[in-house]
Amino acid sequence: MMATTVEAEGQLTPEEQKSLTADMHRSLRRKKIRAMLLVAPLLIFIMVTFVSPIATMLFRSVDNPQVSEYMPNTTAALAHWDADSNELPGEETYAALVEDLEVGRKNHTIGKAATRLNYEKSQMRSLLTGTARKAGRLKPPYKEQLIKINDGWGDIDNWRVIKRESKPYTLSYYIAAFDMETTPTGEIKMLPEQQRVYLQMLWRTVWMSVLITTLTLILGYPVSYLLASLPMSIANTLMILVLLPFWTSLLVRTSSWIALLQGQGVINDILVWFGLVSDDNRLSMIYNATGTVITMTHILLPFMILPLYSVMKTIPPSYMRAARSLGATPFTAFFKVYLPQSVPGISAGAILVFILAIGYYITPALVGGQTGQFIGNMIAYHMQSSLNWGLAAALGVVLLALVLGIYGLYSRLLGGNNQMSLR
């Protein structure tokens, strides 16, 4: 149809080039559509189950509708009030408050606003709910009566908090997630030492994940090396042993560690029986950080072995032989020739285990006790118990950012290296 004539020299005129480009695009279009259709189901699935929850989480960590939604009149009235003026708001604001409290009490919504404000300043909840109970009987003017009911209404700081949190978006969840607070005057400062929770928890999560990753590497590397150097048939059989934990429920594995490690457990019994530990001085290996590290190392070990094995399988034994024939001792040959070539496996395994570990929740919850809890457990607590979803979302975002940051660092440090050796 649109035949393009190629001259003897292979030179195309601009028009011919244009029509050739169009032909090429047309011929590739079908291919592109096909490719799109093939990925479409997964793409839709990921959009629904992965991208949208994360977007929701990001949104919820800054979303702040409670005060403005359930106390609309107060919000409107406070808009005209200057928080830095050191004067209480005027009568119309108190009137708006009474109206909001009455409506909120009838609709059972005032509690939500009260809970939200209580995150920022304690006693705000009782101030609001307590006043709401009496608000129905009040007659104007309200200002004096409200202050009489609860002198909290005469405290300018409380009004400042209400005004600040009446905005539809807030950073206060993030401020809380970093163990900081906003003073009523608007300064952001660290909480007193004994009230700090999350930074310490985050730091513990990171160093315990690093420890678990290191332990899986130390335990997994020799096993992978052995598997990669054995004949295929034996390696496959041994691989089943590595994969066996995968086929067992996580809960079963975790509970069996409880049976092994607890005070009256198998290991302590054996140690006592051999007289290595006295009976009234049994080791506490579970319901603390030790328990979390041991159990998670075991659970995550296959995630280290599998990438290591797959990389080591591709390193021909002739490299080690070549190094030996060139005069290297087995030790030198391993560290100078084998180890550098297994680095892609080490980094893939390490990043996999680390990212899985840092977000782990169920195992620390079961065996972590007080000192072995991860940030994931804190997020779960705020999701399920304290119902402070905003803070849970903010902590989730912090964790996500941390993982992305570490992954970015990883690909910058090792990504280039990996490509080099694969090339």
């Binding site: 032989r321 070549a322 190094a323 030996r324 024939s325 060139l326 020739v337 070539q341 080099m420």
Partner: protein, 366 residues
């Protein structure tokens, strides 16, 4: 006794056996002496034990029985890295995470040589294989032939007295392989280093070697210089394995002064050199090179003259390969030089053919 023998032989295999499973022998009673400076090729089909023998010499496999001597020293219990043997591997085994120069420096570094010496040696080795400007490249950025040269340079850079090569040219295309054969041969001649080379490619072996050991079934069939191997095979396996070969099987009729007579199944009598035959009345396979068969032999030129029926003619430019039916054997190949006087060769036609009994060797039956 052993000492005097191993003084001459630089590498010596003495009654070496190797078994992997404890039931079958991969190498059966191997005995070779390799003098200093020789280029010895171990040639044979796959599974013949040649690579295993090389690996035992390198130290990556242990001999089940027997001794291997290097420069008069038994090395059975010497670790590979202490043997000081350079080795070129089948897939080169260049370290992918190191540059070419780092690859070459590796054997020098592990010998704790100082860095300026390393630099000069690496440069000299790279120049030797004409890759002087490639030191900073990674092996993956080089072509197959260049990688091959780097592998040779790396095996030579620490100046070992012995180099082992395990099918080093197997991965190259035909032209490059031939070119590399000459390069390796010239390096060997220039440096005077001893080389033990393993290959299954006979033309490679014939081009490069001082001597060739033909392996089959874990046993050396013949150990001889290339010309002798081709001209004077001592058994049917070697005759078949090296070069093209016409084989005619018959029964031994008589033998006298090294000349024997063999009767073919169709009744014809052939005279041949008696090389490796059994008793009279037993079977023997005659071996005859296609280029030693003459078409239309002149009177008195050949003492074996028969009539052949042309089955197929293949034109190869400089010569024609003619497949004939001779004495009931229709795989008989004759190489006819391309000259003006034999253009009339027609499929289905017949022609007198003949050969000298000196070119025909009576060997063991296949």
């Amino acid at each position: 006794m052993e000492n005097s023998a191993s003084n001459e032989a630089f590498v010596r295999f003495e009654g070496v056996q190797k078994s992997y499973d404890g039931r079958t022998l991969v190498v059966k009673d191997l005995n070779i002496d390799v003098p200093r400076g020789e280029f010895l090729t171990m040639l044979g089909p796959s599974g013949s034990g040649k690579t295993t023998s090389l690996m035992m010499l390198a130290g990556f496999e242990t001999a089940t029985k027997g001794n291997i001597y290097l420069n008069g020293q038994a090395i059975n219990n010497v670790a590979p890295h202490k043997r000081g043997i350079g080795m070129v591997f089948q897939n080169y085994a260049l370290f992918p995470h190191m540059t070419v120069a780092e690859n070459l420096a590796f054997p020098l570094k592990v010998r704790n040589m100082n860095s300026s010496d390393i630099e000069t040696r690496v440069k000299r080795a790279l120049d030797m294989v004409e890759l002087g400007s490639f030191g900073d490249r990674r092996p993956a950025q080089l072509s197959g032939g260049q990688q091959q040269r780097v592998a040779v340079a790396r095996a030579l850079v620490f100046e070992p007295d012995l180099i082992l090569m395990d099918e080093p040219l197997g991965a190259l295309d035909k032209n490059l392989r031939e070119q590399m054969q000459y390069e390796i041969k010239h390096i060997h001649e220039r440096l005077g280093v001893t080389v033990v080379y393993v290959t299954h490619d006979q033309s490679e072996a014939l081009t490069m070697s001082n001597r060739i050991a033909v392996f089959n079934d874990g046993v050396i069939q013949q150990l001889a210089p290339p010309t002798e191997l081709y001209e004077k095979p001592i058994n049917s396996f070697v005759a078949q394995f090296i070069g093209e070969n016409n084989k005619l099987t018959g029964t031994l009729q008589s033998t006298q002064d090294g000349i024997c007579t063999v009767r073919l199944p169709t009744g014809e009598l052939v005279t041949a050199l008696d090389i490796n035959t059994d008793d009279i009345g037993k079977e023997s396979t005659l071996s005859l090179r296609p280029e030693r068969v003459f078409l239309d032999p002149v009177e008195g030129q050949c003492d074996n003259v028969f009539t052949g029926k042309v089955e197929e003619v293949i034109y190869l430019g400089d010569h024609k390969r003619v497949r004939m039916n001779v004495c009931g054997h229709d795989e008989f190949i004759v190489k006819v030089p391309n000259s003006t006087d034999n253009k009339g060769l027609q499929v289905g036609g017949t022609a007198p053919i003949g050969w000298s009994s000196k070119d025909c060797r009576a060997l063991d039956p296949i």
